[in-house]
Amino acid sequence: MKKISGSLLSGVMASALIFGVSLAAQADGHEGAMDVPKIKAEVVLQGLENPWDMAFLPDGTMFFTEKCKGLSVRTADGTVNALYGVKGSSGFADVGDDLFCEAQAGVLGVVPDRHFAKNRILYLYSSSMKYRGDGCKTNFEKCDGNIVMRFKVSDDLKSVSDRTDIVTDIQYKPFSSDQPFGDPGAHNGGRLRVGPGGYLWVAGGDRHRGICPQDGQLLCGKVLRIDMDGNAHPDNNPPEGFDKRIYTYGHRNVQGIDFRPSDGKAFTAEHGPWHNDEITALVNGGNAGWDPAQNRGGRGECPDEYCGYEPNQKGEMDPAVRAAYTPMSDTRFKDLMPPSWNNNGFSQGTGSAAFLKGDNWGIYEGRLAVGIMGIGFGGTPAGSRIDMISLTPDGLGINGITRMPLGFSKRFRGLVMGPDNALYVSVDAGEIYRVTAESMK
């Protein structure tokens, strides 16, 4: 019997090998061998201080930010020009005396206008003292301390001018609080991208304030879709009474946002608390489901009115228990956008995300590359890596994940595609890498 079973099994396996794999390959559009690309990484820039984001022009010119220094550009011939620094910085062509860095905050996202070749316009996200007014006396006030600026870049790429602040009222955390990572300047989001139609998308964070994500007037914990002057996209559809600049709300700390090449759909990568980093397909007016306010969702009072790490916020605990207490995607919201992926319940620090473009990426073309910065606490493995995630067409799930074979692990902070179809990656240690994929076809 054992022998018969073995023969039968062999026969089934042989059939699968002959027919099954062949059919599967055809169904995937890969007749014959799969095109698994050869992936390599090389250092483009090093010795930087917390490089946070990059943005490209078609000729390979790369703008980049350093969180506590400012905005610089690496020209197509490799020359680096320091353009616009924070207060107290040196070596920059100009300085914003209102710009500063503190803990997680500083000079963060950068992106050029889609008509940059004609108008030379560049957008920059930073923390600023300029619009605080008297609203920052405690952590429980509005405190407008993150802004989006618009600049004109000179033809020689040596300076910027005509600064116009197009968003001046993104909230900021001014003081320490009784939370993990409770320093001032927490959770700013900060990634900027230009989406389909040329509108500017601004990713935000909850700045450790419980009421932020679900409040319709505060911009903390939101994703904005605006025009080049900072006005709301006319088709934004937030709930009644909300600020019209809001595309989605209910976010914790969005550091990654990109648009799927096949349909233009926006996806965010969001850093979880002690559980559940998430990727989410955005829906116009939708709710990502983060609500760390106290006295809601069956919770009582929380330290400094923020339940984002509760319960037992500074102790070890099963992530699933925390996830039930203050969920990243709370199902009590009828307008919830469910996550496409949730990192197996862990929080390891999702940073940036970029769709892989170009047939040089072979079977990975169209996947979402997601940078995981890595933090090990309470039994969670650190997990620094870049995942390549295949998303389902409806964006509500994944087909699979492949870890990018880089051969090293670092805190992968910023990911963006270059015009050469290479993935550019900044790491907190101070490098910007160029990750290339070579098709094996």
Partner: protein, 108 residues
């Protein structure tokens, strides 16, 4: 009395783990890469919310780690450091302090 005190000091020094053990930087680097690197970055240069810890005097790093190991809070993120320091032996603390004093980041 003076002679007795001197003898006691010498004996104390001889049995003290800090003086009896000769710190090994290489072992310190190996231990650093097991856990510390995940937050403090390569060669203790610091990253994001996590401070730079390289270039400090051996006595400073040793005192910090020993305090964390005892469960003493030293700043807002002590809750992260205390469980990391709990399992460290005296030798591991000495090795880490020695490694971090001169650790230099080199891109590999």
């Amino acid at each position: 009395m003076l002679r007795f005190s001197s003898t006691l000091l010498v004996l104390t020094a001889l049995i003290s783990p800090h003086t009896a053990y000769s710190a090994d930087k290489a072992l310190g680097e190996t231990r650093y890469k097991e856990t510390c690197i995940n937050c403090h970055g390569p060669a203790g240069k610091g990253a994001a919310s996590f401070p730079k810890i390289s270039g400090k005097e051996i006595s400073y790093t040793t005192a910090k780690l020993e305090a964390y190991r005892k469960g003493i809070e030293q700043g807002s993120n002590s809750f992260l450091m205390i469980p990391m320091a709990k399992p460290l032996t005296d030798e591991e603390i000495a090795n880490l302090a020695a490694y971090l004093k001169d650790a230099k980041y080199v891109v590999e």
